[in-house]
């Protein structure tokens, strides 16, 4: 509670106590009026002042002005009719203030909660100066300085580990508390928490350019990009208040005139003015206006806590309407690293064949050569290799231990006149020939991510109607992967520019209202990310380009997060619609009841304040996304 809220609470309590006390005072006439004026002024003086200022500034549909008219009107009516019932006016003002107070408190609270949730901002950095550790503001640390991160501390700035080894908790960045090991020479990202050992880090970025600052900046500014629902509500609020006020005026004047002139009945001015004043009480649009941005803010906050950064409320809205998901294959559904997945038709021990392959390819830096070396697993003794001949587009021929080793594709085998056995497996095939004799082949393929199949299934369950995979890879590989994962359509052998064209094609053929999301790793598909209705970059931890180009950023590379992001957005939007329907619905019901004389001012103010409280509480629900 801040000072303003505390004073307000005191005023509310005093006014409420006075109102209850006055109930037992048997005063009548002018004295009664003056006595009731005390709690009224205690609770409402600021509203009256603001209303006066509003009139001066020609802001007639200002809610202060409306509340002032409604309550002053009710008091005047009580005076005119001589009923002495001033309680209603005071109570209406009181409840209005209670509502405002609650709104201010709840918003302040959620503002704080959400910022705490996103509080990954490091407060200080430790710099070694003259042998002693000094805490400084991370903003003051220059690029290339050496900082010390102690166990339990947050890494304040991106850098490279110089000394020490430790385990990092990356949950603040990725939402997963999977520990990550780092050693000297490893890159380290700000926002991680150092769990075990003391490490020294040479910074490679300024604080403002570090991962943690970028994320915070992005999330904080996200709710400034407003969604269609928010625009709708602000437009609605702009029309709603004047419309209700005009309706109130009509209600006060028309029915009595009709009664008087056409029906020959008494005008009953008092009744109709009272009903009109009830209208004014309901005319405040605050419940609506507050709950929508609050829902989005909570949704974005909750998502960022789960490692899903959404760059704007509008993107959250679009994401919830996703019906078509287009994946890039490499790096998104597959690991993007090649691995040896089999050795076939091998006359000798598999390990022996891998050894020859690794030796023959030892001069090459091609990813295929690297994966063979990795599968071999031992250091390669290059002195055993002589006469390495790279035959472009075919493979290599080299002398290993005096033996002629050929490793390459079927073209190479053809060239050497060695009959080879074709492979049925999907992937890159490296045929091997030793001294001109066929020795088997090694299958190398990009490995599918462990969660990819489940991710595609979950997406379908989450309401995605079509899944499409785009890849530059060969048709056979692409179709095999797509079939394995259950991806509906696949387009293969695409150049980066073709991918944009394909996405445009898909955008044109999708049904009206459905949105298309493209998921890529953000490295070379930035144009596609921008072209899609919504671009999702994954594995973006530390990749500025991806964060820049995408609308939604998944901090780690788990494809399950795509469905999670969609479910978070669905939940948030459901809450938004609930609030819109609920708040507008209750107001309309109250207006109808008020016009018919079935709702008095008490009910009106209760409805108004109650709706707001419920809408705010409902909005906060968007924050809880852990179990989605």
């Amino acid at each position: 509670m801040n000072k303003k809220q505390r004073t307000m609470l005191a005023r509310i309590l005093v006014a409420a106590a006075l109102l209850v006390a006055l109930h037992f005072v048997p005063a009548t006439g002018a004295l009664r009026f003056l006595l009731y004026l005390v709690p009224y002024l205690v609770i409402g003086y600021d509203i009256l002042i603001k209303a006066a200022k509003g009139i001066r500034n020609r802001q007639v549909f200002d809610e202060n002005f409306l509340m002032a008219i409604a309550t002053v009107g009710a008091i005047a009516l009580a005076l005119y009719e001589g009923s002495g019932d001033y309680t209603e006016a005071v109570a209406v003002m009181l409840f209005y203030q209670v509502g405002e107070w609650f709104q201010s408190y709840a918003v302040g609270r959620s503002r704080r909660n959400i910022s705490e949730l996103m509080d990954i901002r490091p407060d200080s950095a430790n710099v070694e100066r003259d042998g002693a550790l000094v805490q400084v503001d991370p903003d003051e640390v220059e690029i290339g300085s050496v900082i010390v991160v102690q166990p339990g501390e947050k890494v304040p700035i991106d850098g490279v580990v110089l000394e020490g080894a430790s385990t990092l908790n990356t949950s603040a960045l990725t939402g997963e508390s999977l520990p990550r090991e780092v050693r000297a020479g490893d890159e380290i990202l700000s926002g991680c928490i150092n769990m075990s050992g003391l490490i020294k880090v040479r910074t490679t970025k300024e604080f403002g350019e570090s991962t943690v600052s970028k994320i915070l900046d992005l999330v904080e500014n996200a709710s400034s990009r407003k969604s269609k629902s928010e625009d709708f509500i602000s437009k609605f609020a702009r029309v709603y208040t004047p419309a209700v006020c005009i309706a109130a005026l009509a209600l006060a004047v028309l029915p009595p005139l009709v009664r008087l002139l056409f029906l020959g009945l008494p005008a009953a001015w008092g009744t109709w003015i009272y009903r009109a004043l009830t209208f004014l009480v309901i005319s405040c649009p605050c419940a609506l206006v507050i709950s929508i941005p609050l829902s989005f803010f909570a949704g974005i906050g909750g998502a960022s806590n789960a490692g899903v950064l959404v760059k704007g409320s509008n993107y959250l809205e679009t994401l919830s309407k996703t019906r078509v998901v287009v994946f890039d294959k490499t790096g998104t559904l597959t690991q993007g690293v090649f691995e040896v997945c089999g050795v076939h038709h091998c006359a000798m021990e598999n390990q022996k064949l891998l050894e020859y392959a690794a030796l023959a390819e030892s001069a090459s830096s091609h990813p295929i050569a690297k994966s063979i070396e990795k599968a071999y697993g031992k250091p390669v003794d290059r002195s055993r290799v002589q006469n390495v001949q790279e035959i472009g587009g075919n493979g290599v021929v080299a002398r290993v231990d005096g033996m002629e080793v050929a490793a390459g594709n079927d073209k190479l085998m053809e060239r050497l006149g060695v009959p080879c056995i074709p492979c049925h497996s999907v992937g890159t095939i490296v045929h091997m020939a030793l001294d001109g004799k066929y020795a088997g082949h090694i299958v190398i393929a990009d490995v599918v991510k462990p969660n990819a199949k489940r991710a595609v299934e979950t997406l379908k369950r989450a309401g995605v109607q079509q899944t499409v995979m785009l890849t530059g890879d060969s048709r056979r590989v692409a179709e095999q992967v797509a079939a394995d994962l259950g991806v509906g359509r696949v387009y293969s052998e695409l150049l980066p520019a073709d991918k944009v064209a394909k996405v445009e094609e898909l955008l044109a053929e999708k049904p009206e209202g459905a949105k298309l999301a493209f998921v890529g790793d953000g490295i070379n598909d930035a144009p596609v990310l921008r072209r899609a209705d919504i671009g999702i970059a994954m594995g973006a931890m530390g990749s500025d380009a991806a964060i820049e180009a995408a609308d939604v950023v998944l901090m780690d590379d788990d494809p399950m997060k795509i469905a999670k992001a969609i479910r978070i957005s669905r939940k948030c939007l459901r809450i938004v619609y609930e609030n819109i329907v609920f708040a507008i619905g209750i107001k309309i019901i109250c207006l109808v009841l008020g016009a018919l004389g079935l709702a008095n001012m008490w009910l009106a103010i209760f409805a108004d304040v109650g709706v707001m409280i419920l809408a705010v509480l409902n909005a906060i629900r968007a924050l809880f996304v852990k179990n989605l």
Binding site: K50, K53, E63, Q103, S104, V107, R111, I114, N221, C286
Partner: protein, 72 residues
Amino acid sequence: MKKTYKIEVDCANCANKMEEAACKTPGVAKATVNFMTLKMIVEFLDGHDPKTVMQQVRANCKRVEDDCEVYL
């Protein structure tokens, strides 16, 4: 040019009113008020001095909602 200013305002509808008022101020290309983070992001038209424009923005905001503040 785009600049961000801290603001102080109590109700969401007032924030919308401030946004509208700021948008209508001469020299402002676009203004967004973020009620949840209490920030106003103003995009200025070329050839206008942000300082003088912001004085006017502040005055206009005060006119539609007396109980608000724009920290310049």
